[in-house]
Subunit: 475 residues, 4 copies
């Protein structure tokens, strides 16, 4: 439905909650809009007023799915929300979140960022015991586990459920008078807490707090359960034993907004240091440095700072064209790239250009971009990537193609350089990457190394989309 | 959402299936359009191609919910469909059918006409065992029971499930290569089988068979399970012990279309005999007989035949106005009735008029209609109702108001006549009703007598809509 | 866009006005809904509040085009409205009415029922003088003439404009503080006046007055100009010399609703007499009489009365299927007719059936209908048409096919009977028709006789749709 | 409808044409998407195939108004298109372009960027002569003049029409086999020509040529008429005597994209020089320079270069939030600005910050932005504006507020600085501006100086929106 940039990995979700605020549904919606870069396929809201949970989900951007009319119809002072990205395969309303069900204690809705590695196994077990599933979403497994729990309180039931699943999750769960906020024991995906006057706020990134004027408090700890009550009280406890952290390092490379604070560190600062490390590791004899906008601007500034090569705005992003589905049937030259970027000719003409980008997935788009930069007059193109080569797929909530489509999984750097037709190519080293986050451990970097913190039992996200899966072509 | 005629009881659903036909989805949609009078709130389709089940549901008429584009996107040679009516309370996409889930054997969707009287009890039991529910629909209970069954085949699993539920149901269940057609042991709601070339068809009423040119074969027997295979084979067996039949007699009074055959009898013929019996029981000294269009035309013709009073077209129905949501804010005189009917003045002017209607629910609309008929010049208005007074609510799939809103539950016929301001009022007797169906037993007539064939354990259809129920304001 | 019944002629428009009422826009919209049978392709409203004219037009039914939200946005105590039918060719928003323009005196909008026979000539003249046209509608010509007039008042300017056009028109024109109501000197198309408290109402048919509870006053006279002022005053004068009346007799045959009063006569009464005259002219040896619903019910009742043959409900109309655009790609047997009507089998089975219909255009649909009636078991089918054979096209506002497509233009009655495969066929005679309207003159019956009251200078309604015409594919 | 940034002036239109290409409608639509920054309220297309002109216009972005389905329905190898911005007042479909009419020679459609200063006078004259107008658009005046012309060819007729109008216009006119491209004699608004294989392309900015891979040829000269024939031939001649050029200098300040070439100069280069001149004129004692994204990035880079102060990404733009209409009813702190920008805290914290923006209109938004920058920790805020103070309204196609709302029309620079609460404020001088465009004359800079090249006879763009104007609330 939405045009997908095959040259980027994609975050699968963003989540947001506001508790104890008369405008919780509106504020949550605004926060979701600030998190839209984390998922553009569907958006949803579940709200509660102390007595009942109502919800709405629809395909499309936050602005399309959660219109003013819809949000006005959802009354409550507690709210959770979700934005979702997915590839075309399982892209339908049925899989949008929050998922909203009833069970023995009443009504419950869940918004989940991440991916469970043992969901398939659990699901098969539960199906064999007679359970039915309405979605192909792994989050539904958690709801089943909560419903089966004999714990007396909902948060203890959720904790019990979470102890049975493995993988990556930053979760929001709402019932009529509480929002529970939980993060997996390894902290794969980010999740933070903030306050707005007497209200509690939770969000994937701090830019969502900033949007509504909330104050950043802290990140939710890996293995922590935070219970936000309708009346403003907050409880917190550990639901899991401590484990080595495996925070997704790609949040710093590409996913998160530079104005966000993630895992307690400024994304802008970390990303800047990646560019600086890259500059130290792989300088170039060139006239100008340009970033691929908007995501690589920060790293390219760092590269420029360290190398002393002048930073320039060499590519302009076509913000409006992305939504246009018109495509010339006689393919215009390199249309797919032009649709995204236009070079500033006189900036590039006659120049030896360093292009800084954050990552290379398949290489096809980058190859076209290099061609366009050359057509604009660049005499040399030196490509610098502010992260190591992506050689492995992710099983923790990031949409990566299967391994063989990752160009770096089967090609050396010189081979990639030849394919891309660049004069030189360099990636940031793993060491450079780690020095940029100023840590030696605590991060998942499996996409660069293949060292998976948790063994994936099944496969990717289409695991429930067997021949028997429910699918709606649209709704 | 849709304007509701508070002077009528409402059927809650219509169902349709086509198996082993390359155009199954299209033909099912056309059949649903012919059954639209049974439910106008939502419509849905589930199709299968031997390998996978796909589904689509949406709010609105068949023409809005199942557009050509949607139906073209649903490929398969097996299909089931559903139209649903409901009061505003639980009117949302979540409750639309077919309900589509996955379970241990794969994918499954259900379309259900009727109401289970022990659904609440079963649901509470299952919730207590840890099950979760996605809808407030009693049909979801059946899916849970099927999923829990250890029977080896899907139809045997369905039969086992059905043996645990009580109440009224005419069911269609689809999996990737079979459609199962089942009817409750008392046969509360109608369901028939037909053939179209090599294809099998099932539908609530025969008018849906006629629409697609299918040949009527027979009704599905109460307690029968019919298994329609993707390749055209058909199996059938009894899944329940024989029980006394309790076919809903109101199908003849109002719900079914006069061109349909229901429970093996022509609706037109039965309805005609009701008018004739009414004419014999309660003749009138009058100049013309009119029916309230379109539903009472048939009975009024019977009344005219027996009494010899001239039949006339005295009221014209505004077919297009019903969909208009414009309402004058300074209420125009008797607007709600004028919106539906306009009198033909010269037919009524100076005449003593017999008005035949099929039933009276609350009496408020009828009172306004009587006033309009008098304003058009009628000198006397004699109201004749072609069924007995409705004194009790229905628990088997018909939307009736709570008892105290039924005018006949607490008022005598003379009191009702006084309220309606008619010169005389008579209802058809129970005996007259039974003679019209040419039977002394085999029918449920609880709404007239309070003699419920199966004791309702819970209450009406809002039973799952407690404070904790999931509700979407729209989707 | 909308399914078209090729076996009927089609009215092209209905108009409605309410002046001096705080709810004028709402009431006008309700009136348009009552006139929906006169045009289902587009609907529009122009309102005024004494200072400014606002308007809205859209494709579709009144309920779709003039939603509550749209009507709430149109404030004023004067309003005119329009519903339009058209064949696919010129079916687009650009041609929807009211047409709304500015000119030297300010703002003006027009709603027009009818067709001008010299519009093409006038348009060419004006184009040659340098005028531009925004629509392919002949009504725009009138606006140009009004704008060119040097008369001091708007109504005198309109009168001057109308003296230059020839043809059929029942017109409503609104400016910021007046609604003008005018009818052509021959009175081709109906138009009536009513009152609702202090408000004036004008409408094509009285059923629109009834809808809003307005009292019928009188018809607008041919050649009359009625000026309705914002403050409730009304002026009236003749703007044209008296001419022989040429009221469209087909309004009685088919277009108007039976509950309307047209040209001062009850449609029901006239239509009934047509059936009676037909019964006297062409009785049949048969068991039952049925009408083709809903339009032929009235005439068939008259036929039954006179012949003594029992009247029956033999065909049920599928009210909901018409809006469905699903069509089986392998054409199901006689689908196009089944989509509209379903026979009541036991009423027809073994019977000799008289089918009364109001007219035959091409004959193709009727042929299929006869086949379906036979399949339902009729042993003989005697077709009786309650008007004479249609042999000529209409140039005064009715959508007729070109002559050669009219089956009666080139075939004798026996030939038509053979084509339709009926046992006998008879049409009402011209004399019978005239006796039914109880007049010998004053009516246009050109479609039956070819005697055109005004010579058509150009052609049909596609006259401005030359290769150069502006067309929007949709809007 | 769309959120409007009150701190910016707004271009009112962008235009695009493709002639002699089988994919002309698609390519034109893509070009319009690249020009979307020039107008986001409505979009339209008029296409021709040698025989007929078809058109479509709708409210909203190009992606919403010109969907793939719409564009597929518009066949032709000639196409013109238009995007429009407007304030809410006159924001309706009626005023969308291209305007499409018929006249004596056939069909004609116009797409117009600019504003005529004598349109009101001409319109009044034509209305007095009996003309009617369908829009409140000044472009309709040109169509009337073309229609009245007695010139033998359409391009000569257009030239004759253009000689009667005064003001700013870059025009595209399409008839069945030609597209005419014309620019006013002073060249107020940009317009350029390009080639794509054998096809001719015209566009407001070169970024639209780049989008479809077309080659930039040259700008259309002021006073030039370019005739592009369906077969690929091109004629060109002067239709007006030479006049001093008055190219809009604000295109360089803000409107045009930096990757475009306008009036033969690279926007990026000119804008860069503005920043450099500003740096020389008004350096600051500060730690970092930031631009207000995205429009001021280029100028801020120039400022940084000259002053040696480090350039930083200090504000992140919320690309997705702009389309969200949700607004907290209890206004969250400085919501309107947060909705657009979020500060990167650690970049600003403890820093003396130079903020470079391109212009100040009312000052209200800037005041909030300064506050947000301070809240993010900036110790000093030095505001530098890369153009002179805006003291006068524009009459040539730019949406400026009335004079008294322009803060610089009635306040000195120190007063503005006080109001904005900045530590220092400086604007670029007129001399600095002119040196940046490397010219002393040839530009209109009336908004900075009040020296209007052509005296405005009437007023702003609401001139036709008197009490009598036709307005549709939506369509």
């Amino acid at each position: 439905m939405k045009p997908i940039d095959s040259e980027r990995l994609h975050e699968e979700c963003g989540v947001m909650a506001v508790v104890n605020h008369p405008e919780a549904p509106r504020l949550t919606t605004l926060g979701l809009a600030a998190l839209q870069h984390r998922g553009q396929e569907s958006a949803g809201l579940a709200v509660a007023d102390g007595h009942v949970v109502h919800s709405h989900r629809a395909m499309g951007y936050v602005s399309d799915a959660l219109t003013d009319e819809v949000v006005r119809g959802l009354k409550g002072h507690l709210a959770i929300g979700h934005v979702r990205y997915s590839t075309t395969g399982s892209s339908n309303l049925r899989n949008a979140q929050p998922i909203h069900v009833t069970y023995k204690r009443g009504s419950l809705a869940i918004a989940h960022n991440g991916n469970l590695v043992n969901a398939q196994t659990l699901r098969r077990e539960m199906e064999n015991e007679g359970s039915i599933f309405n979605t192909t979403n792994d989050s539904e497994v958690i709801l089943h586990l909560v419903a089966r729990s004999r714990q007396e309180t909902i948060d203890r039931a959720l904790a019990e459920a979470l102890r049975q699943v493995e993988g990556a999750f930053s979760l929001l769960v709402i019932n009529p008078d509480t929002v529970m906020v939980a993060r997996d024991p390894r902290g794969f995906r980010p999740l933070c807490l903030g306050k707005l006057d007497g209200a509690w706020v939770a969000a994937s990134e701090t830019c969502a707090l900033d949007m509504i004027g909330a104050r950043y408090e802290r990140q939710v700890d890996p293995g922590e359960m935070v219970v936000l009550h309708a009346d403003g009280r907050m409880d917190s406890y550990r639901w899991a034993d401590e484990q080595p952290a495996s925070m997704c390092i790609f949040e710093y490379v590409y996913f998160s907004r530079p104005d966000s604070t993630i895992y307690g560190r400024s994304v802008d600062q970390v990303r800047r240091r990646m560019g600086e490390a890259l500059g130290r590791e792989a300088p170039a004899d060139a006239d100008v440095v340009i970033g691929v906008p908007d995501s690589s601007n920060t790293a390219s500034l760092g590269y420029s700072r360290v190398t002393g090569i002048r930073w320039e705005l060499g590519l302009i992003r076509n913000h409006y064209v992305g939504r246009t589905f018109i495509r010339p049937s006689q393919e215009v030259r390199d249309f797919s790239v032009r649709k995204k970027y236009n070079p500033v000719r006189h900036v590039l003409q006659g120049k030896r250009v360093v292009v800084v980008d954050d990552s290379i997935v398949r290489g096809t788009t980058m190859r076209k971009l290099v061609k366009i930069i050359r057509q604009a007059g660049a005499t040399e193109v030196h490509l610098r990537i502010s992260s190591p080569p992506i050689t492995h797929s992710c099983y923790y909530g990031i949409d990566t193609p299967i391994r063989r489509e990752l160009i770096a999984s089967s090609h050396t750097v010189p081979e990639i350089a030849a394919y891309l037709q660049v004069d030189s190519l360099a990636y940031l080293s793993i060491e450079g990457l780690m020095s940029s986050v100023q840590a030696t451990e605590g991060f998942c970097r499996a996409c660069f190394t293949g060292e998976y913190p948790i063994a994936p039992s099944g496969v990717g996200k289409d695991v429930f989309e067997s021949e028997t899966a429910p699918q709606t072509p649209s709704s």
